[in-house]
C-alpha cells in the first residue's frame, strides 16, 4: 500500500426509523476513492445513494458502533462541532440535484458563501469570480437565482462547491433535473474539472453519464458492488 485513499467508507450502516419500523438503507456499504479519481455511483431509486453521499459529506451520521469514514487516512465520521463544520466547509464540496441556492443572495454572493462562512471575504472574491467566469456566468454575477435557467443555477452551485478549493466534489445527481443538452454541458464542465485533478464522487441514474467516470460502482441492497 503506497498511499491512503483520499476518501474511504467502511462497513457503513444507516437505518431510518419510520415510527415503530426500522428501515435499513445501508447495510455495510464500503466505498473507496483515490486521489484524482472520478467515481460514479449507480443505483435504483431509493437504494440509498443520497444517503451514502450525505454520510461521505458528514451531513448525516451513520449508525453507531460500526464502520466509519476516513478522509486522507483520518477518521472523520465522529467529528463534532467546529471540526465537522470545517470538513463540510473545506474538505468537500457538495452539489445537489435541486441546486439549493439562497434566493435572497446574488449569484456572486451565493458562490462566495463558503468563503464567507470560512471567514475569508475579500481575499476569495477574485478566485470565485474567475470560477464563475470560467463557467460562463460573468454577465450574471449580480442576478438573483430566480432570474437564471436551471443549467445556470447548477453552474452557480458547482462554483459554490468549489469556492474553497476542496479536495473532493460530492455531486448528487447534478444533471437529474436538467434536459439532456444542458446536462451534457454540465457534464462537460465537470469533465474539465476532473482533468485539472479534481476528485469526484457522483450519483446518477444514467449509465451514459456514468460512462464518463473512471470507475462505476452500484448500490444494491445497501451494499456497494463494483461493475
Amino acid at each position: 500500500m503506497s498511499e491512503a485513499p483520499l476518501l474511504q467508507a467502511r462497513d457503513l450502516h444507516k437505518t431510518y426509523r419510520m415510527g415503530r419500523l426500522d428501515v435499513p438503507v445501508l447495510r455495510g456499504a464500503d466505498f473507496t476513492m483515490r486521489k484524482g479519481e472520478w467515481v460514479a455511483i449507480l443505483g435504483s431509486s431509493g437504494s440509498g445513494k443520497s444517503t451514502l453521499m450525505h454520510l461521505l459529506g458528514l451531513l448525516d451520521e451513520p449508525d453507531r458502533g460500526r464502520g466509519g469514514v476516513w478522509f486522507e487516512g483520518q477518521p472523520v465520521a465522529g467529528l463534532r462541532g467546529g471540526a465537522r463544520n470545517h470538513y463540510r466547509n473545506r474538505s468537500v464540496g457538495f452539489v445537489f440535484q435541486f441546486y439549493h441556492l439562497l434566493p435572497e443572495l446574488t449569484v456572486l454572493e451565493n458562490a462566495m458563501l463558503p468563503c464567507r462562512v470560512a471567514g475569508a471575504g475579500r481575499a476569495a472574491a477574485g478566485h470565485v469570480r474567475s470560477l464563475l467566469t470560467a463557467f460562463g456566468l460573468d454577465h450574471r454575477l449580480h442576478h438573483r437565482p430566480r432570474e437564471l435557467s436551471g443549467g445556470e443555477r447548477q453552474r452557480v452551485a458547482i462554483a459554490r462547491a468549489l469556492a474553497n478549493e476542496p479536495r473532493v466534489l460530492l455531486a448528487d445527481e447534478p444533471t437529474g433535473n436538467l434536459d439532456a443538452r444542458t446536462g451534457g454541458e454540465i457534464l462537460d464542465m465537470i469533465t474539465g474539472l476532473h482533468r485539472q485533478g479534481l476528485s469526484i464522487a457522483m450519483v446518477t441514474h444514467d449509465p451514459a453519464v456514468a460512462a464518463r467516470a473512471d470507475r462505476v460502482v452500484q448500490l444494491v441492497d445497501g451494499r456497494v458492488a463494483d461493475r
Binding site: 451531513l59 448525516d60 435541486f98 439549493h100 439562497l102 435572497e104 458563501l113 463558503p114 462562512v117
Partner: protein, 548 residues
C-alpha cells in the same frame, strides 16, 4: 460576516420584518408616551408642592396659634430651615363683578391670608403670578391682537406681589386663574378674556365668618377688595378655589387679630365691662417652612419639631404671655407630601399600574418577534440546511436570527421613541384637537381617499386578483369609517383637568424612561428571536434539504 449579510437580506427583502418593526415601535411609543406623561405629573406635583406650601407645614386650624412671630423666629434659627411664613387658612364667599345687572355670581373660595414678603421666600409665589406685561416689543408682537396682556399696567406684578394697589394703597386680592369663569385657555397656552371681562380691572366682595373662642360662629364680615392679579399654580384644584389677601386683613376679618384679654370670671367693672387682664396676641392657622437646599423634607420636619418644642417651652416659661400656644400633640407638623397625600397617592398608584403595563408591553414585543421569526425560520429552513451543509456553525445560524431580532429591536425602539416624542411634544395640541369638532378637510380627505381605494378595489376586482382587491377593499372601508368617525366627532374632553389636577398635560419626554424602554425593547426582541433562532440552529441539514 455571512450572518450579517443574510440578516440584512432577510430584513430588506420582505414585509414581515417591517411589520415587526412597526409593532415594536408602537409598543415603545405607547410606553414612552404614557410614562412620560405620568412622570411629568409627578414632577409637576413635586415642584408645585413647594409653590403650594413649602416643604413642611405646621397646622393648627380654626382657633390658630398665638405668638407665631416667635415661632417663625425659632424655626428660622434652625440651620435646616431657609424661611418660614405665617398663614391664615379659611373659607369664604366671593361675590364676583359679573354678570351685568344686580344678580352677581357668588362662589366659595379657600382664602389664604399671607404675609407677602415671607410667603415669597417660602413658596416662590411670584413665579405663579399670571398677568405680566410683555418683557419687550418682540414678545408683545407675538401676542394676539385681543391678548389682554397687551394693555397691562406695568404696576400689576408689583401689586400682585405686595397684595396692595400701588396707586391707592388699598389692600388687594389675588385669585386663582380659574376661580372666575372669564379666563379661557387658548391653543398656545395663553389666556383670553371671555365676554370681555378682565378680573384685575374689577373688585370683588369677600365674606368671611369668624369663629369665636368658644367655637361658635360670629357675625360674618365682608370687605371689598380690588383684584390686583391672578395666579396659576398649574394645579387645577387650587387655581379653581384659592384666593389670597394680606394676612392682616384676614386676621381682622376673622377676629384673629391682636386684642385685649378680659377676665371673664372676675366681677364686672362699674361700666359693665370685664376687667382687662392683658394683651391677646394675633393668631395664624399655619406656618409654612422651606428647607435649605440639600435638606430633605423629612429632615426639616424633625428640625421644625425641635423648634416647636423650644418655642412651646419658652412661652410656658414666660409669665408675660398669658395665652399659651397649643400643645405639641394638638398641632400637626407634616411634610408637604404627607399633607397632600390624597393628591399624590392616586398618581403614584397610576404609575404602579404603568409599571405593570410595562411588562405586558415587553411581553407583547417578545411574543410578536417570536411568532414572526418562527414563521421566517419555518420558511427559511431549507436555506438554513444549505448553510449548515456548506459548513456554517450552529452559532453562525443562531447569530443570523439574533441579529435580526437585535436590528428589529433597535430600529423599532428608535422609531417608537421618535413617534413618542412627536406625540408628547404635541400632546396638548392633539388633546385640544380631539376636544373640538374635526375640521372639514380631515373627513373630506378621508372620504376622498376612501373613494379612490374603492375605485382601485373595483379595478383589481375586474383584473381578477384577489389579494390586492381585498387589501384595497379593507383600505376603503377603514378610510370610510375614519371619515365617518371624524365627521360624527363632536369633540370629547379626554383630559378633564378637574380630575387630573393639572390644567395642561405634561409634554416633555422622560428620556431616562425612553432609554430604558428602548433597551427593554431590544432585550425582549432578542429574547423573542432567540427561541426561533435556537430552533434554526437545530435544523438538520439532511432533513431540511430532503424534499423539494
Amino acid at each position: 460576516m455571512y450572518a450579517i449579510q443574510l440578516a440584512n437580506r432577510y430584513l430588506t427583502s420582505r414585509i414581515i420584518p417591517l411589520i415587526a418593526v412597526g409593532a415594536v415601535a408602537l409598543c415603545v411609543a405607547l410606553v414612552v408616551i404614557v410614562v412620560s406623561v405620568m412622570s411629568g405629573f409627578l414632577d409637576m406635583l413635586k415642584s408645585s408642592g413647594r409653590t403650594l406650601m413649602g416643604d413642611v407645614v405646621i397646622n393648627y386650624p380654626v382657633r390658630g396659634m398665638p405668638w407665631y412671630d416667635e415661632l417663625v423666629r425659632a424655626i428660622e434659627a434652625e440651620p435646616a430651615a431657609q424661611a418660614a411664613t405665617p398663614l391664615v387658612d379659611t373659607y369664604g364667599l366671593l361675590r364676583m363683578p359679573y354678570p351685568q345687572g344686580a344678580e352677581k355670581e357668588v362662589v366659595t373660595a379657600n382664602v389664604w391670608g399671607i404675609d407677602p414678603a415671607s410667603f415669597e421666600r417660602v413658596t416662590d409665589y411670584s413665579r405663579t403670578l399670571h398677568w405680566r406685561p410683555p418683557a419687550d416689543q418682540a414678545e408683545a408682537d407675538a401676542m394676539g391682537p385681543d391678548d389682554p396682556r397687551r394693555k397691562l399696567s406695568p404696576r400689576i406684578v408689583a401689586d400682585g406681589l405686595a397684595l396692595r394697589r400701588g396707586d391707592t394703597g388699598e389692600p388687594g386680592l389675588v385669585m386663582g386663574l380659574h376661580v372666575s369663569i372669564v379666563n379661557e385657555r387658548q391653543r398656545d397656552g395663553s389666556y383670553r378674556s371671555r365676554y370681555g371681562w378682565f378680573m384685575p380691572d374689577h373688585r370683588v366682595t369677600l365674606t368671611l365668618v369668624p369663629i369665636s373662642a368658644k367655637g361658635t360662629v360670629a357675625e360674618p364680615r365682608e370687605q371689598v377688595f380690588p383684584v390686583v392679579n391672578e395666579f396659576r399654580s398649574a394645579v387645577y384644584q387650587i387655581d379653581k378655589n384659592r384666593v389670597m389677601i394680606p394676612l392682616a386683613e384676614a386676621q381682622r376679618m376673622l377676629r384673629l387679630d391682636e386684642g385685649t384679654l378680659h377676665d371673664m370670671e372676675a366681677p364686672p367693672n362699674a361700666d359693665g365691662s370685664q376687667p382687662v387682664l392683658g394683651r391677646s396676641p394675633a393668631r395664624v392657622h399655619r406656618v409654612l417652612v422651606r428647607a435649605r437646599p440639600g435638606v430633605t423634607p423629612d429632615q426639616l420636619r424633625e428640625a421644625v419639631e425641635t423648634a416647636y418644642a423650644r418655642f412651646e417651652q419658652a412661652c410656658a416659661a414666660d409669665p408675660s404671655k398669658l395665652v399659651k400656644p397649643p400643645l405639641r400633640e394638638m398641632v400637626s407638623i407634616l411634610t408637604w407630601e404627607q399633607h397632600l397625600r390624597d393628591l399624590i397617592g392616586p398618581v403614584e398608584k397610576e404609575r404602579e399600574m404603568m409599571r405593570i403595563l410595562f411588562s405586558i408591553v415587553y411581553l407583547v414585543c417578545a411574543g410578536l418577534v417570536l411568532s414572526i421569526f418562527w414563521a421566517i425560520v419555518q420558511e427559511k429552513s431549507r436555506d438554513i440546511g444549505i448553510l449548515r451543509s456548506i459548513g456554517a456553525s450552529r452559532g453562525g445560524v443562531l447569530w443570523i436570527f439574533l441579529q435580526y431580532g437585535l436590528v428589529i429591536g433597535l430600529v423599532g425602539g428608535v422609531v417608537g421613541i421618535g413617534l413618542g416624542w412627536l406625540v408628547i411634544t404635541n400632546i396638548n395640541a392633539i388633546h385640544q384637537a380631539i376636544g373640538e369638532r374635526a375640521p372639514l378637510w380631515s373627513w373630506t380627505a378621508c372620504f376622498a381617499a376612501s373613494t379612490i381605494a374603492l375605485l382601485m378595489t373595483v379595478r383589481q376586482g375586474l383584473r381578477g386578483v384577489l389579494l390586492p382587491t381585498l387589501l384595497w377593499l379593507v383600505g376603503a372601508i377603514t378610510l370610510g369609517l375614519a371619515g365617518a368617525g371624524l365627521m360624527a366627532h363632536r369633540g370629547t374632553l379626554i383630559w378633564d383637568p378637574a380630575v387630573y389636577y393639572f390644567s395642561t398635560i405634561p409634554d416633555r419626554v422622560d428620556w431616562v424612561t425612553a432609554g430604558i424602554t428602548w433597551l427593554g425593547a431590544v432585550v425582549f426582541s432578542v429574547l423573542g428571536a432567540s427561541v426561533p433562532a435556537a430552533k434554526a440552529a437545530d435544523i438538520d441539514p439532511v432533513r431540511a434539504l430532503r424534499h423539494e
